[in-house]
Symmetry: C2
Subunit: 205 residues, 2 copies
């Protein structure tokens, strides 16, 4: 299982944003939504065994988490607006449960934050994407249950960095340039695909 | 200079599409538009020396080409809708010129197709992204003026493949999985960044 956790410091935890002005009205939820596609989708279909978590830290309903699973997902379209529509419907759910509640196949919402989320995956090998850290290409491996934490356009706040450090998250870098979050996901996924092929364990559906 | 040429077999060459249903109404112009961001943008700003060409093969006005330059571009936002709005305004221009005509800073449109476009770059080293081809990581170099041709969700049609072959385009692969066009751009850009750093020629603004 591969997991991507995208942390949005100000991304709207409510459905209260405009589809026609996502960057301006959603606390930059657009950055997080754009990470779903490279994590879950290949050229013609969905990956297997991948989960994406969007940690929403913005607005009075925060923190909440949106979960997208490749297993069970149906009718996902690759365009940003479709993901935004799906997110808006999911966030309109009034669920206050700290467990994930499905709002449609493969899409769920929970009322919790990063610490509670990470506590669910005691066997995961945590990585945090960080500018200037050890290049992911040089890492010997990413563990059997790799989990990657990605910041938004502002990076991480201090509390998140502390949380990740306490949990022993391994910092990894992606090369000389600081790329946008969704490109970071595409680069990690490609490295994992290459490693999986080297082990002759294909990940494609 | 880095150039990316994204070929859309059916992508609308006219402004006649709906912003609220881009995949369904634009001949999948959305696939092409999503390639602009990873080519032109880094975490906080625009790259230098990068050009993106969207070759639009769909509808009665085809072929037309939309050009996005990192040099001179202003007020570009990273979200898909913003690129779609920009494209729609540019395509509403009635210009029939085969030369590029600026419609706003950094964005231009021309009435021509792939062959005429490639003929403008006699010094470019052409590459075509192709599933299963030689891994880009193993290529010794990409030339001083690398140009990458990327297909849409359907790949390339026969005429395009012939055109690229005649011009000696080098096929390159990106790993074991067939990724979506925009992820392909992100992977190529990262490889170029790494090579540029190895040569101590940073590409960031």
């Amino acid at each position: 299982m591969r997991r991507f956790v995208i942390v949005g410091q100000s991304a709207s935890a409510s459905a209260d944003f405009l589809l026609q002005d996502l960057p301006g009205s959603s606390g930059r939820l657009d950055v997080l939504l754009r990470c779903i596609r490279p994590a879950l989708m290949v050229s013609h279909g969905l990956r297997r065994d991948t989960e994406v978590y969007l940690v929403l830290g913005g607005g009075p309903l925060a923190p909440r988490i949106l979960r997208f699973l490749s297993a069970g997902a149906r009718y996902l379209r690759p365009d940003e607006r479709s993901f935004a529509v799906t997110a808006q419907k999911a966030l309109a759910s009034a669920s206050e449960a700290s467990e994930f509640v499905d709002v449609r196949p493969g899409v769920a919402v929970a009322k919790c934050g990063l610490a509670e989320l990470l506590a669910r995956f005691p066997s995961a090998t945590l990585h945090v994407l960080k500018e200037g850290a050890t290049d992911l290409r040089t890492r010997p491996d990413f563990g059997r249950e790799p989990l990657f934490v990605v910041g938004d356009h502002r990076g991480f706040d201090e509390a998140t960095l502390t949380e990740l450090e306490v949990r022993g998250a391994l910092p990894i870098g992606l090369g000389p340039m600081s790329v946008q979050a969704e490109d970071a996901v595409a680069l990690v996924v490609n490295e994992l695909d290459r490693r999986a092929e080297a082990l002759e364990v294909p990940n494609e559906t």
